[in-house]
């Protein structure tokens, strides 16, 4: 899989161009992509779009249904839900992306080293990771979050740690295959150092499975983030996070549907979009090995 963007001209059919073309044909993935882009725009331009401040309370206007004044209605403190959703997007995306990026970076490096050097190194690294893997993800995240205390970065650590072994395994499997390829031996024969071989030759060729895993991982991280906040760990009020928005308005679910429907809907939509995008990516990346 190619990462550089040398553009798509008629003559140069780069691999990224091929993959994008294939992805485009998958309608569901395109829908997912559009949704994600919308969510990203919501997050980036939250300041500009949001009609109200997310923590601005107005007790006189509590529990108002969706209207022109409050697109998604107001919550139990009279805060505008639409604004809270917008800022919530920031947090969810931040947590999702950063925790996955860090997990992939750490897990990927460990997996690549284990696969490349093999033997005892491989054994030691993978067994340590197995210990983490043995603990159910959610429990691990809860335990870490509870230990570290509240806060955004602690939550990212809590979510991130649990997924490191998964990424390590994926990268390890990928690297094990790639390192047996002839062109790796050619690279060795021209005197490339181990570092050069790993960074320039192995990583790009081993990337494809990780890309799919990471996309799905962001979805998982967003869900975990929502779950942790729902349980009261991680995000502190009044910071709007979709999961904590759910938990704090749980009791009103039968009376004022919009309090839970919008945050819940956003979680669902975002996770769905990431999932179909990830699936589409997996398909688009797969048949490429025709050359």
């Amino acid at each position: 899989m190619k990462r550089r963007t040398t553009g798509i001209t008629l003559k140069k059919r780069s691999q990224a161009g091929e993959i994008w073309r294939r992805l485009r044909q998958n309608k569901a993935s395109m829908v997912g992509l559009v949704i994600i882009i919308v969510v990203i725009l919501m997050a980036v331009f939250a300041d500009v779009i949001a009609p109200y401040d997310y923590s601005q309370q107005n007790l006189a206007e509590r529990f108002q249904g969706p209207s022109l004044k409050h697109l998604f209605g107001t919550d139990n403190f009279g805060r505008d839900i639409f604004s809270r959703i917008l800022f919530g997007a920031r947090i969810s995306l931040k947590v999702g992306l950063i925790s996955v990026i860090v997990s992939v970076a750490i897990g990927g490096t460990l997996g690549a080293i284990a696969a490349f050097y093999g033997g005892r190194t491989d054994n030691i690294i993978m067994r340590i990771l197995d210990v983490i893997l043995a603990i159910p993800g959610m429990l691990l995240a809860i335990a870490i979050a509870a230990t570290l205390g509240a806060g955004l970065s602690n939550m990212m650590i809590a979510i991130g740690i649990g997924s490191i072994p998964g990424y390590a395994r994926v990268v390890r499997a990928s690297v094990l295959t790639v390192k047996e390829q002839d062109y790796i031996e050619v690279a060795r024969s021209i005197g490339a150092s181990d570092a050069r071989i790993i960074l320039r030759h192995i990583i790009l060729n081993a990337m494809a499975p990780i890309l799919v895993q990471a996309t799905l991982g962001v979805a998982g991280a967003i869900l975990s983030c929502a779950s942790l906040s729902f349980l009261g760990l991680g995000i502190e009020p009044p910071t709007p996070e979709w999961g904590s928005m759910l938990s704090s308005t749980r009791q009103y679910i039968s009376q004022y549907w919009w309090l839970t429907a919008f945050p819940g809907g956003m979680i669902m939509l975002t996770v769905y979009a990431l999932n179909v995008l990830g699936d589409g990516l997996r398909d688009a990346l797969d048949p490429r090995l025709k050359d």
Binding site: M1, G118, Y183, R188, S189, I190, R200, D291
Partner: protein, 323 residues
């Protein structure tokens, strides 16, 4: 230029110790081509990897011997020193051009890589030199930024040659460079290699199982069998005055252009299992001239004149041929 002395390489596996290369010695002179010919499994590729110190060391073990390139003993070098020699003093071309190139890098980048590692050129300079190299091997320089899948097998092999020649090595090891290509392309590639050899005054170790390629491209020949060099000499000596029963059998099994035969004459039997080599000569079960001593004692390399070496009891002092 290159001297290999008593090189032995084993692979130690669960099933036993595989003696891939046993005690081989040969040399390649400056500007000349040595052909290392033999069947599949004879140990040719292992020899090549042994020279480059690329034997995978968990199963592979270099049991003994020396490899001396231009006066430097390669096995006495530290890893870092060896890395600086690979690609710049000695390079290797591998067998299958279809898998020898990294699919996600442009061919220009792959050629430049060698230059950037050894000659520390900047990107721009390396790119310029890479384009020159492409032209040298007969590919338009503009195709520098294309990907391997946009080239045919023959052209990919040219790219591989360009990569190996980038830093002007003194020795080029070509491991069956034309086996994966069709005959017309084979001719082109051999011609190209010959031209380049003359232009760059390079020595070549040509590994092949095709005696036609040996005849076409090699000055000296070493015939390998079951990890040993059984006959060694100039191309004329080997082709015109072949002495070892295996060599005779090899040449006898090639179909001739001017003879009409119903059946080809293969050498009976199979190469011995390298994990279980027999006591005595490795060729004993298949040799028409096998006698008592062959089953007990391994023959030495006997010089039968003008540097023509044969590893066979027939040519020992008291052997049949000298009787």
């Amino acid at each position: 230029m290159l001297e290999v002395k008593n090189l032995s390489i084993n692979y130690e596996t669960h099933e036993g110790i595989i003696k891939a290369v046993s005690n081989i010695s040969f040399s390649v002179e400056k500007g000349k081509t040595l052909g290392l010919a033999g069947e599949t499994g004879a140990g040719k590729t292992t020899t090549a990897l042994g020279i480059m110190r690329l034997i995978p060391t968990p199963p592979g073990v270099v049991k003994g011997g020396e490899v001396i390139l231009d006066g430097i003993s390669l096995y006495s070098l530290k890893k870092r020193q060896m890395r600086s020699i690979r690609g710049s003093e000695v390079s290797m071309i591998f067998q299958d051009p279809m898998t020898s190139l990294n699919p996600v890098m442009t061919i220009g980048d792959q050629i430049s890589e060698s230059l950037r590692i050894h000659e520390k050129l900047s990107r721009a300079d390396a790119a310029k030199r890479a384009k020159e190299l492409l032209e040298l091997v007969g590919i338009p320089g503009e195709r520098y930024s294309e990907y391997p899948h946009e080239f045919s097998g023959g052209m990919r092999q040219r790219v591989v040659i360009a990569i190996s020649l980038a830093c002007n090595p003194q020795l080029l090891i070509a491991d069956e460079p034309t086996t994966a290509l069709d005959v017309t392309i084979q001719a082109q590639i051999l011609e190209l290699m010959n031209d380049l050899k003359k232009k760059l005054n390079m020595s070549v170790l040509m590994i092949t199982h095709d005696l036609g390629v040996v005849a076409e491209a090699c000055d000296d020949v070493a015939i390998m069998y079951a990890g040993e060099i059984v006959e060694y000499g100039t191309a004329e000596q080997i082709f015109n005055e072949m002495k070892h029963p295996y060599t005779i059998g090899l040449f006898g099994s090639i179909p001739k252009l001017d003879e009409d035969v119903d059946r080809l004459t293969p050498i009976k039997g199979m190469m011995p299992d390298p994990a279980n080599l027999p006591e005595g000569c490795n060729f004993q079960d298949r040799c028409p001239k096998c006698c008592a001593i062959c089953k007990k004692q391994k023959p030495e390399s006997f010089d039968i004149g003008n540097g023509h070496l044969v590893k066979c009891h027939l040519f020992s002092k008291g052997g049949e041929a000298n009787a």
